[in-house]
């Protein structure tokens, strides 16, 4: 068992990318410090730790920074591999499918979250339709390639894994976007599996703890 490490997460309360990292660390029971960044006034530390992108999340373990949310999640899973749950499956083929669908979210779903709030009229409707269509594609793909009936409630099994955490962050982001843009993006009838995974995640103690923890850091400015 590795010696206790010094772990610090630089993040922002409203960032879905950061939320996944909180969840991963808490699921594994890894204690960590948190630094809330004001993205309009980034700290010297953040700029030093992530000079290439100057973005959150950045996870610093024993003084060594790691950036990019998917890279961070895999790093957490590898550093604390002996702590359940394993975020990625053992089987290489399943691992490849998890990585593929995680990448799909970033390639096909996330970009639309930038388009939708700025779009109007017909182009907004088109972007919303496209977003929902991509979720349906993901629903089908996950169901076919990863889901095992009866092995749920998570894609990963009885405990959440990388894709489940990603789905959870998507849920937070989607709900926020629905409010801001006045649109419906999630539909239980279109994507029942993804919705049930998101619901199961929201029930977890670590998720509720994280929400409470982040309340203290919420900025009042928009």
């Amino acid at each position: 068992m590795a010696n206790a490490k010094e772990v610090r997460l630089y993040g922002m309360t409203r960032s879905g990318y950061c939320l996944m990292v909180h969840h991963a660390l808490r699921l594994k029971g890894v204690p960590y410090d948190y630094v809330e960044e004001d993205l309009k006034n980034k700290s010297q530390e953040l700029l030093r730790l992530n000079p290439v992108h100057k973005k959150v999340p950045v996870l610093v373990v024993d003084g060594r920074p790691v950036a990019e949310s998917l890279v961070i999640l895999q790093y957490i899973d590898e550093l604390w591999g002996s702590l359940a749950p394993r975020l990625l499956p053992e089987d290489p083929h399943r691992r490849a499918k998890v990585r593929f669908w995680a990448d799909f979210v970033y390639q096909k779903v996330v970009p639309l979250t930038y388009v939708i709030p700025k779009a109007e009229g017909d182009s907004k409707a088109a972007a919303v339709a496209e977003f929902r269509a991509q979720l349906v594609v993901m629903e089908g793909g996950v169901r076919e390639e990863l889901w095992v009936d009866g092995a749920g409630p998570f894609i990963n099994g009885d405990a959440p894994g990388l894709l489940d955490l990603l789905a959870g962050s998507c849920h937070t982001g989607i709900k926020f976007l629905e409010g801001v843009a006045g649109v419906q993006l999630l539909d239980k009838e279109e994507t029942p599996l993804l919705c049930s995974v998101m619901e199961a995640l929201l029930q977890l103690d670590v998720v509720k703890e994280t929400t409470d923890f982040l309340q203290q850091h919420v900025h009042n400015d928009r």
Binding site: E68, V71, E78, P92, A96, R99, D103
Partner: protein, 233 residues
């Protein structure tokens, strides 16, 4: 082993990543050559979501996306050929993955932008962006190599493969715009690495020479120009 098939063409740097990985592992496979401009039935069936190469087919099951493919190859055949591709240490693995994201998200698009630039001004701007990225990668190389030959130290590792696939694309781009991009004077470490990488036994076997890449780059340029013109009409 017809057990392993790769759909693609070595002219695609993303396919080349998979080919270099398979070559490092000394694995036999069937290359299902795709023709530029056409998508085979097999490709459309194996990658319905992106309809892109590379696709690795193992035991009749397709794996898509170059990064996913290379990690899969490393995990299924950990000790074959030249051995492990992902570094042994978790922190180094995360750095190799981080820089791969950077290359795919920022750097290669800047090289494509150079190919698409139509005015001298646009070209000059694009050259600066490509070089700025290479300088960052040069710095990363110095840190990761710790004075040794490759990003993986003594051995070719993940980032060597994921970035090295562009080694002759850089040369082709240099010929295309008659400007040095990866120059020895300002980026000696990375320049040296590129020379060594191209010469590596596993890479030499599969990497198309810069002349062929340049030919292909020009075909792509023509296609981009046509697409841009069509979009205006």
């Amino acid at each position: 082993m017809a057990d392993v098939k790769l759909i693609g063409s070595a002219l695609s740097p993303y396919v080349l990543r998979a080919m270099i990985a398979l070559s490092l592992k000394k694995l036999e496979y069937e290359l299902m050559q795709e023709k530029f401009g056409e998508k085979s039935e097999l490709l459309l069936k194996s990658n319905p979501i992106y309809k892109k190469i590379p696709v690795l087919i193992h035991h009749d099951r397709p794996i898509c996306e170059s990064a996913v493919i290379v990690e899969y190859i490393d995990e299924v055949w950990p000790k074959s050929g030249w051995g492990a591709i992902l570094p042994a240490d978790a922190y180094h693995r995360s750095l190799h993955r981080f820089w791969t994201f950077y290359i795919d998200d920022k750097w290669f698009p800047s090289l494509v932008a150079l190919g698409k630039a139509e005015t001298e001004e646009a070209k000059a701007e694009a050259v600066e962006r490509v070089r700025a990225g290479l300088l960052l990668l040069d710095e990363a190389f110095v840190k990761l190599s710790e004075g040794k030959a490759f990003f993986g130290g003594d051995r070719v590792a993940y980032l060597d493969v994921m970035f090295g696939c562009f080694a002759n694309w850089i040369k082709a781009a240099e010929m295309l715009v008659s400007v040095e991009l990866l120059d020895e004077a300002t980026m000696p470490a990375l320049h040296g690495w590129a020379v060594r990488f191209r010469e590596h036994e596993a890479v030499k076997e599969v990497m198309p020479d810069s002349g062929k890449v340049l030919e292909f780059f020009k075909i792509l340029q023509a296609k981009w120009k046509k697409d841009a013109a069509d979009a205006k009409n």
